[in-house]
Amino acid sequence: MSETIKTDVVIIGAGPVGLFAVFELGLLDIKAHLIDILDKVGGQCAELYPEKPIYDIPGIPYITGHGLTEALMQQIKPFNPTFHLNEMVTTLEKVGEPSFRLRTDAGKTFEAKCVVIAAGGGSFQPKRPPIQGIEPYEEKSVFYAVRKMENFRGKNLLIVGGGDSALDWTLNLQPIAKRLTLVHRRDEFRGAPDSVNKMRALVAAGHMDLKIGQVTTLEGDNGQLAAASIKGKDTVERVECDAMLPFFGLTMKLGPVADWGIKMEEELIPVDTGTFETNIPGLFAIGDINTYPGKLKLILSGFHEAALMAQQAYHYVYPEKKLVFQYTTSSTSLQKKLGVA
């Protein structure tokens, strides 16, 4: 068991609102750790629309999702937050008044006075193909991620998809697999051209197979895959395999948040609009994941919510101190924190 990471605030979700929360907390001398299931910061801005323009950030007539993420990262740099990417918070329990313990699927444990849920539409998780009877195979012989390559040594592998994940794992696993078959719905790939060329060379040399079609049925016993049927344009082909790796990108699912004993309304978390606290003191919800009368799922609303949340969190982090409201334009103390005074 690794040691417990102790901090003032843990922010779940490193999207634009989670990032801006670091700024508002930082101005009040509150340290934060951020945890995000994606391998990058920016949340939906990074995953769903990095290149698409956003027109409704106040004072910024036009910015892309990627641009906004970059700008926020620059803005919060003085506060030196710690990021834990590629990790999902699996459990959250109350251990004090207030104090919370969180665990992640990477085995880390955190203890924080306050927790801020800024998880947007939930966590990005792999899309599961709608193949009938796939459930018993999942995590036994159907995997949506590769944790240990060695697990696939000497196996007959089926990789499904046409993007970089499918191609990268094809190239990485082909040398150690007994036989690798890549399945994709069309004979064109959206992955990096270099990976596509390498894959095609392996196919041409007879070192792996490429099938055009969609996996329709699975055969096997007790979660152990034996074969899959691949439906092509006019054919159905049976391919023997020990494991299948489908890569169809990500979709947002609420995830473990629903199991933490927080009051929820249709997958959203109701909050007090003065503090953005949930029904549990010290536990906040900001951004797209919360709900209140008049709620708008806008980034700008999430920024406002982050500012008010920080004011309330201050009382838990520094219960003895009195909070005096200050402006960044005029406060030398704030400017020192920002490294500009």
Binding site: L48, K127, P130, G162, G163, R190, Q214
Partner: protein, 121 residues
Amino acid sequence: MSLQAPSTEANKEKMPKITFIEHDGTAHTVEAELGSTVMETALKNDISGIVAECGGSCTCATCLVHVDEKWFPIVGPPSEEENQMLDTAFEVIETSRLSCQIKVTEALDGLIVRTPSYQGR
């Protein structure tokens, strides 16, 4: 002389109709605004088979529809960008499109699309 607002009735007549057939066979015929997308029309009318997670950015493939075969030549094939997103959808057939990428025009009056059983979530 009084300024006369254009009759809403007359405008309505111009609105193309789109029929969404859900996976279970339930059909909904709704009016679509010119210049909007088929996805937006679906959301406005609570068509349950359309998720549209990314809000129309062509980055999530959760607004998949199967265009009726007779209509497919009029709607046309997907762009390469859209085709790449179709790679991450399920139950994709020859006439599948992402409904956020189909703009409503007068030529689409009467369009029929089918929604899949599953949009990946």
